[in-house]
Each structure stands twice: as structure tokens, then as C-alpha cells.
């Protein structure tokens, strides 16, 4: 590690090694599944094999009598509480009640002294089902004759934040529209038009660690250890479900083995708490991979889009209608739907836009957040239409973007609402294009593509943090951000150390424990560095102010003249260690300085986050591909992604995040797909659901970190780590289009590409044949 002294930033902008690296490398880091609490039982879950059925009866008596079994939980055990939850829409029972709506839905759960006993007890439970008509696809769900998966009024969840939820409309659980200008009128004289239907499959986040929870229910307090990204939102939902004040639910979050959105909001926690309540003992549930694959996933999508431009390539109108398959329960479907709609126009100037986004219930496992949600769904569709127009107009795709992209300060939302553009997109995409040799000559079946998009990032700007300096001058940062690999503990330490004028080596960053840790809204939407980081910065600045206050009393000089550096307060040649300053402050050995910091939408000392989104995350990539016409295989030969981060607090962490997002974007585009047959997920394991391996790596990957200090976070930072995931599938699809193989369905399996090549080489075009 480099030791840096001098002026300017001393911690910020340096690639400090990860503070959690040693623990993780030595095998000492604790994940939820590694933990045991005294008296703990093991839980296993009986899941429905039917995607849609009525539960006629459940007989648990044989299971209950088995030695070692402490409790068997079923729906009827929850009659004394309102058992429905869902942060957006309260539509999901803790465990199936009278009806199952997806294959994999929990029907019963067993707590036993070991896992093998619990597993054996599941086999002894008899459930009689009566099958109901299957609504396993978007098309079936939209059929007016389809059975309704949910009925009655829509119940808003604790954190719906969606305005008026409106009336239920068949199986459409949520609908979001963007409307501006007169699309018919503005497109009437268009020189170029492109229109098409697109399909995106459901995909799985595949965090390596599955969902894991330990819950200990007591009448007056519930203790939970969980692999959860948003402990404070889970805390509030558990309190609501089980009738306790928020503070009586204590959630501790150990390290997470990846999240990517799969562990956002409430997942396995309510079921584990309910089982503990029945068993009157702590219970641990660790999902198998197949169980986690029916716990969260990315929405599958069907999309129609039409885009028009005038003769010189100036964009005129965009219309899109799309349907997202949210599965049996809403989870984060509404937010995904709205974010997808926000991404549909792309960062361009339009005369008129009409977007109609619908989130549809189906008899499939629930969909929620997955890194860069919404943007990943729409960017490849939107950007491939842009390229198609460019091809029709005979304009280079990069030039097409130069002509139409928004400039900094221009409104992003077509109706002019919300935060204007806060990034230099033309600069970003030019850099990416140059990195894949945009202007170099290319052979047959070689293509290059770029893509540009924006992701509404930051979620809600509500974060608190505290910074505590102990009598020996050591520092603890307490912040609710979950460490799931992205590196916030290291980054928060750097931000605090910068403010305090000491090395990040003396800063410890603690994991969330909702009993002590100040509130942080969530870990997602690329918000942690920007918002939680700002709260940490404010708290650290308040501690620094106290140090200065005492030093200026001791030396009797104005506080502006006191500098904090190298862990000391200094004035000219005079120096005091922080520990000495604290001793002077309290007049005795001991004491401490502890201060809080906050970020909220308006007012305070934090600047304004009133205008949503907190920032626009930039999604820019360029790709070069080579198509093997014999096998239909697409080789991605060169790639560049742009992490436009305002200011990189830790540049290597930024690159790692960007590269990781690239890899997932690559997987989503090239081969990842959850395959369903009659509502059942049939590739629910790592052998059949393929994620990128090292052999898949392109030979040349460039990650471009752009620092224009234009973010609302500490030192001009803004979040990163999602943009590349949305941008990469779009750039690959465009590169493929450039190579002469336009595609409208993901993933780009060799079979699909090969068939497309066959279609294209038919002597007559398909249009003429039909």
C-alpha cells in the first residue's frame, strides 16, 4: 500500500486495497450460512410442483411425529396475523394460503434438529392439489378469458412510492405511461421508420451465495441474520407483519456472497421468522440453488417499438409498448417497469414519445431487481432501432448519436420533469468507439456496435451514518450499506479518512446491525458511494469540526487555521495526535467524539437531492464481433465500457465493478436464459443455467473511467457498476447488426444466429415470401 502525504486528496482517488480482503482470503469472513446461534434448528421448505393449483388439504401429522422435528408450518398457522407482504404491493403470503401461484412456492416448512431430518420430514407431508388453468406466459395472462391471479383491491406496500396505484386491470398489476407530444402528427412525414417486436428471456442473478437467513422469534423481539441488501426495509416489513415496533426487529447483515439485486427487499426472512415463531427456537434456512432461482430473477419481456427520423437522421418520434412478466407476485416489478419505461426513449431529443409499460402477473416464480433492471430490458431494443435508422439513412451509427444525443443540462425525461442530463454522453461513446477501433477496416462478418443509455439511479436519497473517534484516535464508521463485493467498506473508510486527515488504515467500517447502525434506505441502484458516502462524509466532517474546536481552544487560534493531517491536528509547527486532542477535550483519559451525518431529499446541510433521480447512471459500451457462419457462433473480440463516475474514490474498485457488470451483460446477451416448460423452470441448476466462465472472456476488454466531477456524491462522485450491464447486450446486438445479422431476440445462441443467417441468405427475402 502506498503511503501518501502532502496536500490535495490523500485518500480519495487512490486504489486502496480492500479492507475486507484479508478476512475473505483467509476464510475467516462470515456469511450467513457460516453462522450458528445457540439452540438453532434447521429449516427446509416444501415447495409446490404445480404452477397453479388450489390446495385441497395438507396433512402434516406424520412429519410432526418424526423424532427430531420441532415444528411444521403451513398457511393455517398464520391466521392470527395479516400474513401478506410486498414492499410495493402487498400481494404475497408468507407461505401459500389455499392456493399456489408458481412452481416452487413454499407450501410447508419444517424446523428440525438437523437438515437431513427436516428434509426427511418434508417427504412425509401430504398435500392434495387441484390444478387450476395455467397462466404461464405474458400472452396467456393478457387473454381476457384468463383467470385472475390476484383479485380485490390493490394493497399498497410500505414502500410503494408509486403514486396512485389505480384499479386492477386483469392480470396487469402495474402500468406506467410516458406521453409527450403528438406521435401521429410528428411521425407523419418521417423519411425513415423502423418497427419491430423483441423478446428478452427471464434470467437469473446467480449470486454465488444463495439466500440465507437465521431468525429467532421472541414475543418482544425478533433477531435476524440475513443475506439481505436492504436491512432497514426488511426490518420495517417484518415489524409490520408480526406486529412489533420497528426497533424490536434486529437485523444483522454479515458479508454477502454477491447480491446483484437478488437479495434486495424482503425474500426468505418472513418465512424463516414464521417458522421460528412456530418452533419457539431460532431457525436457519439456507436455500439450495434451485430454490434461490425461484426466489428472484429478472423479468422476461415482450416489447414492441417504433422509431422515426427525418431525412438527415434527426430523430422524430418513439413509441413503445412492452410487457414484463413479474411472475406470481409483484416484488419489485413496478419499479422495474417504471425504470424500463424511463430507459425506452434513450438519451435523445424527441418531438414526441409514447411509452406504455405493463407489469403482468403470470404463474411463474416472482421477478425482482437484477442489476441495471429496466435499462437492460430496453436499451438493446432502443439502440438497435437507432442503428437500423442509421443504416437506412446511410449515416454512421456514431454520427447518428452525435446528432441526436442530449447534451449536459438538457432535460432527460421527454416531459422535461426531473433531473437534467449530468454527463457528457457524446464524449463517453466516442471514447468507447475508439477503443474498439471504430474506423479501422473490417472483414466480412465482422461488426462493430456502440450503445448509449441512461439508468435512473440512486433510488431514494435517504441515508444516515455515524462516525466515531475513540480515545486512541481510531475511527469507526457505522453505515447501513451492505458489503456484497462492491467494496463500500473500503470506500467509506477512504471518504471518512479524507475528511479526518488520517489514513484509512485506522478506520473500521462496520456491517449493518439495525439495532445500532443508522438508517440507510437500501444498497442498490448504484447509490451507496453517492448517498451513504455523502452521509459518511458529513458525519466525518462533523467529527473533524469537533477536533478543530478543541485544538483551537488549546492553542487559542481560529479554527480555520488548524489543519488535520497524518492523524494529527496541526497549527504551524505545533502538532497534537488525535488521541491527545480527545484527552484535552474531556480533560481526562477517555471520552470519544461521535457525530452523525445525513442525506435527505431537501434542505439540511447536504445540498439538494429533491429532483429525481439522484443521478443518471451512464450506460455506454462499444463492441466488436466476428460471426462464424458455419456454427452461428458470435465471437466478441474487443469491448470497451465506460464508467462515468464523476470522481473515482477508489479507481481500481471502479474498474472491477465495471468489468463485473460487463461480464454479466455478456452472459445476459450471449447465453443466459431461464427455460420454462408449462410453468416449471427446467434449467434450475448451474450445469444447465450457464454463467460466464473465464474461457468466455473477450481477448481485449477496456474499461474507461471518466471523471468529470459532475456527480452529487462526495468529491463529485456518482455511482457505477450497473451501466455496463445494460450497455453491453445493446452493443453486441448492434455489432451483430453491423455484421449483417440483425437479431430481435436474446440470448444470441449459436442456433438462433445460425438460423438468422440461413433466413438472410435465402434468395428471396422473407417479406416477399409472406
Amino acid at each position: 500500500m502506498t503511503v501518501v502525504t502532502g496536500t490535495g486528496t490523500r485518500e480519495v482517488g487512490r486504489s486502496r486495497t480492500r479492507l475486507d480482503a484479508r478476512e475473505k482470503l483467509r476464510g475467516e469472513a462470515m456469511f450467513t450460512g457460516d453462522m450458528e446461534v445457540p439452540g438453532m434448528l434447521y429449516g427446509r421448505v416444501l415447495r409446490s410442483q404445480h404452477p397453479h393449483a388450489e390446495i385441497v388439504s395438507i396433512n402434516t401429522s406424520a412429519a410432526e411425529r418424526m423424532p427430531g422435528v420441532a415444528a411444521v408450518l403451513v398457511g393455517r398457522d398464520l391466521l392470527d396475523i395479516d400474513p401478506y407482504y410486498g414492499h410495493a404491493i402487498k400481494d404475497r403470503p408468507i407461505i401459500a394460503i389455499e392456493r399456489v401461484r408458481f412452481s416452487g412456492e413454499p407450501v410447508a416448512a419444517v424446523a428440525a434438529e438437523d437438515e437431513a431430518t427436516a428434509e426427511a420430514a418434508l417427504a412425509a407431508i401430504e398435500v392434495v392439489y387441484e390444478e387450476l388453468p395455467l397462466v404461464d406466459t405474458i400472452d396467456k395472462a393478457l387473454d381476457p378469458a384468463a383467470p385472475l391471479l390476484h383479485e380485490g383491491p390493490i394493497r399498497p406496500g410500505l414502500f410503494h412510492g408509486l403514486g396512485n396505484l389505480g384499479e386492477r386491470d386483469g392480470n396487469i398489476g402495474y402500468r406506467y405511461r410516458l406521453d409527450s407530444g403528438d406521435v401521429a402528427g410528428e411521425s407523419a412525414g418521417a423519411a425513415f421508420v423502423t418497427e419491430g417486436e423483441y423478446l428478452f428471456p427471464a434470467v437469473y442473478q446467480y449470486a454465488m451465495e444463495t439466500h440465507s437467513v437465521i431468525a429467532d422469534w421472541k414475543p418482544n423481539e425478533i433477531a435476524i441474520w440475513a443475506s439481505c441488501q436492504h436491512p432497514f426495509l426488511v426490518q420495517a416489513e417484518i415489524a409490520d407483519l408480526f406486529g412489533l415496533p420497528i426497533g424490536a426487529v434486529r437485523i444483522q447483515v454479515p458479508y454477502l456472497g454477491g447480491g446483484f439485486g437478488s437479495k434486495s427487499y424482503t425474500k426468505m426472512e418472513p418465512l424463516t421468522v414464521a417458522l421460528s415463531r412456530k418452533a419457539r427456537a431460532p431457525v436457519k434456512i439456507v436455500n439450495r440453488v434451485d430454490e434461490s432461482m425461484v426466489t428472484s430473477r429478472r423479468h422476461g419481456m415482450r416489447c414492441w417499438m417504433r422509431t422515426t427520423a427525418d431525412a438527415d437522421g434527426t430523430l422524430l418520434t418513439r413509441e413503445s409498448r412492452f410487457w414484463l412478466d413479474t411472475g406470481a407476485y409483484m416484488d419489485n416489478g413496478p419499479r422495474v417497469t417504471a425504470t424500463a419505461a424511463d430507459s425506452a426513449p434513450g438519451p435523445y431529443r424527441w418531438r414526441a414519445v409514447h411509452i406504455d409499460a405493463m407489469c403482468v402477473y403470470c404463474n411463474t416464480a416472482p421477478s425482482g431487481s437484477y442489476r441495471a433492471f429496466g435499462a437492460t430490458h430496453l436499451q438493446w431494443v432502443a439502440e438497435s432501432q437507432l442503428d437500423e435508422l442509421a443504416r437506412k439513412a446511410g449515416i454512421d451509427p456514431l454520427e447518428m448519436r452525435r446528432r441526436n444525443l442530449l447534451r449536459p443540462g438538457e432535460p432527460v425525461r421527454p416531459d422535461g420533469s426531473g433531473k437534467p442530463l449530468d454527463a457528457d454522453l457524446i464524449g463517453d461513446v466516442e471514447r468507447a468507439a475508439a477503443a474498439v477501433g471504430w474506423d479501422e477496416p473490417k472483414g466480412p462478418l465482422v461488426g462493430r456496435g456502440v450503445s448509449v443509455g441512461l439508468l435512473a439511479a440512486g433510488a431514494h436519497p435517504v441515508s444516515r451514518a455515524s462516525v466515531r473517534m475513540r480515545a486512541d484516535g481510531s475511527v469507526e464508521v457505522s453505515v447501513g450499506t451492505t458489503e456484497m463485493g462492491q467494496g463500500p467498506r473500503t470506500v467509506m473508510a477512504q471518504i471518512a479518512a479524507e475528511e479526518l486527515g488520517c489514513s484509512s488504515d485506522r478506520v473500521r467500517v462496520l456491517g449493518a446491525d439495525t439495532r445500532f447502525t443508522p438508517y440507510d434506505r437500501s444498497t442498490g441502484a448504484s447509490r451507496s458511494t453517492t448517498l451513504a458516502g455523502k452521509a459518511v462524509q458529513n458525519a466525518a466532517a462533523a467529527v473533524a469540526a469537533k477536533l478543530r474546536e478543541t485544538a483551537c481552544e488549546v492553542w487559542d487560534v481560529a479554527s480555520e487555521l488548524i489543519e488535520l493531517r497524518d492523524g494529527k491536528a496541526a497549527y504551524g509547527d505545533l502538532e497534537m495526535e488525535f488521541s491527545e486532542v480527545i484527552a484535552k477535550r474531556f480533560g481526562f483519559t477517555g471520552g470519544e467524539i461521535i457525530e452523525g451525518g445525513e442525506v435527505r431529499p431537501m434542505g439540511g446541510d447536504t445540498g439538494s437531492y429533491a429532483e429525481g433521480p439522484v443521478f443518471w447512471e451512464v450506460c455506454v459500451a462499444a463492441v466488436e464481433v466476428e460471426v462464424d457462419p458455419e456454427l452461428g457462433k458470435v465471437n466478441v473480440t474487443r469491448t470497451a465500457t465506460v464508467a462515468d463516475v464523476g470522481r473515482a474514490i477508489n479507481p481500481l474498485l471502479v474498474e472491477r465493478q465495471d468489468e463485473g457488470a460487463f461480464m454479466q451483460g455478456y452472459g445476459n446477451a450471449m447465453f443466459e436464459e431461464m427455460v420454462y416448460r408449462d410453468g416449471e423452470l427446467i434449467n434450475d441448476n448451474l450445469l444447465e443455467y450457464r454463467v460466464p466462465r473465464i474461457q468466455d472472456l473477450p481477448r481485449q476488454m477496456t474499461s474507461i473511467v471518466v471523471e468529470n466531477e459532475d456527480g452529487p456524491g462526495p468529491h463529485g462522485a456518482k455511482g457505477c457498476g450497473e451501466g455496463a450491464l445494460a450497455a453491453v447486450p445493446a452493443a453486441i446486438v448492434n455489432a451483430l447488426g453491423d455484421a449483417g445479422v440483425p437479431i430481435t431476440q436474446l440470448p444470441l445462441t449459436p442456433e438462433r444466429v445460425w438460423r438468422r443467417l440461413q433466413d438472410l441468405s435465402e434468395p428471396q427475402s422473407t417479406e416477399e415470401l409472406t
Binding site: 486504489s15 476464510g27 449470486a207 454465488m208 440453488v289 467494496g487 473465464i694 472472456l697
Partner: protein, 166 residues
């Protein structure tokens, strides 16, 4: 419920005798009976490599074996790599320095795979390194920094060797 079997294991240099049911996986035995939780459970199918251990000098996926099959074996887990509580093995140190990890879930398996590979091939090419960890999945990183870490470890270990001969 099942009859238990006594199994003798030498784990990280210490002899253990554990009593396990016949179908208990080796990975569960290490994690639950010996509380060595640095070995992680991922896919339970032999695909991801998160459960990698070194058994009698070979990389083994501990999710694919029953504990009883390991009777009499000598096992190294991630916990044994560093020589003391403050130390890191050169492979571990290189992972720290090159940021060769994120969430850390795949990391113990990666490090063990890298360590036994470098023992057999102390000066590998990048392609050989890629080949060596081809069976270990990491969902967080783009792998390149893991390759950097392994290359760096190889270079440093070669440097140390050379140093010892001077």
C-alpha cells in the same frame, strides 16, 4: 436416524475423528463438524469450485464426496494457507494487492486452485493460468484481476526462490 460412521481426517495438520451419517458430504463435515467455514457451498454439483479443497495433494470438490470416502485422507482448507494469524500466503497477498476478489465467496476455492496449480507450474503463461481456473466460477469479477493476481503470485514466489539460492 442413520447409523453413524467414524471417519479419521487429517485436516490442516491436525488429526480429527468425526462421527458422521453415511450420506454426509465432505464439505458439510468440514463446515459443520470441524467449523471450518472458509470452504463454501455453491452449486453442490461440482460445477462452481467454491468448495475446492486440497486432498492428498490434489484439488478436490468437497461437495462431490461423502465424508466417509475421505477416511484417512490428508486435507488442506483455506484456513491452513497462511502460516500465522497475521500472515498471508503469497497467493493470498497477491489477491489482496491485485484486487482479485469482490464478494469473496468464490475466493477460497480460487486461491486453493491457484496454489496447487503454481506448485506444479511455477512460471505459467496467462493461458495456462486461465486453463487452471477454468473450473472455478466467479460471478462478481470479470476474472482478469484473478489472472493478474495469480501471475503476480507466481512472479513473487519465483523471486523468493531465486533469492534463497543467492
Amino acid at each position: 436416524m442413520n447409523q453413524h460412521h467414524e471417519v479419521r481426517l487429517n485436516v490442516n495438520g491436525t488429526e480429527h475423528t468425526v462421527s458422521v451419517p453415511p450420506r454426509k458430504l465432505l464439505v458439510d463435515c468440514l463446515r459443520e463438524d470441524l467449523r471450518l467455514t472458509g470452504t463454501h457451498v455453491g452449486c453442490e454439483q461440482g460445477v462452481c469450485g467454491a468448495c475446492t479443497i486440497i486432498m492428498d495433494g490434489q484439488n478436490v470438490r468437497s461437495c462431490l464426496m461423502f465424508a466417509v470416502q475421505a477416511d484417512g485422507a490428508s486435507i488442506e482448507t483455506i484456513e491452513s494457507l497462511a502460516s500465522g494469524p497475521e500472515d498471508l500466503h503469497p497467493v493470498q497477498q497477491a489477491f489482496v494487492d491485485c484486487h482479485g476478489l469482490q464478494c469473496g465467496f468464490c475466493t477460497p476455492g480460487m486461491v486453493l486452485a491457484a496454489k496447487s496449480f503454481l506448485e506444479q507450474n511455477p512460471s505459467p503463461t496467462d493461458d495456462e493460468i486461465r486453463e487452471a481456473i477454468a473450473g472455478n466460477i466467479c460471478r462478481c469479477t470479470g476474472y482478469t484481476f484473478i489472472v493478474d493476481a495469480i501471475r503476480t503470485a507466481a512472479e513473487r514466489m519465483a523471486g523468493e526462490e531465486a533469492g534463497q539460492h543467492v
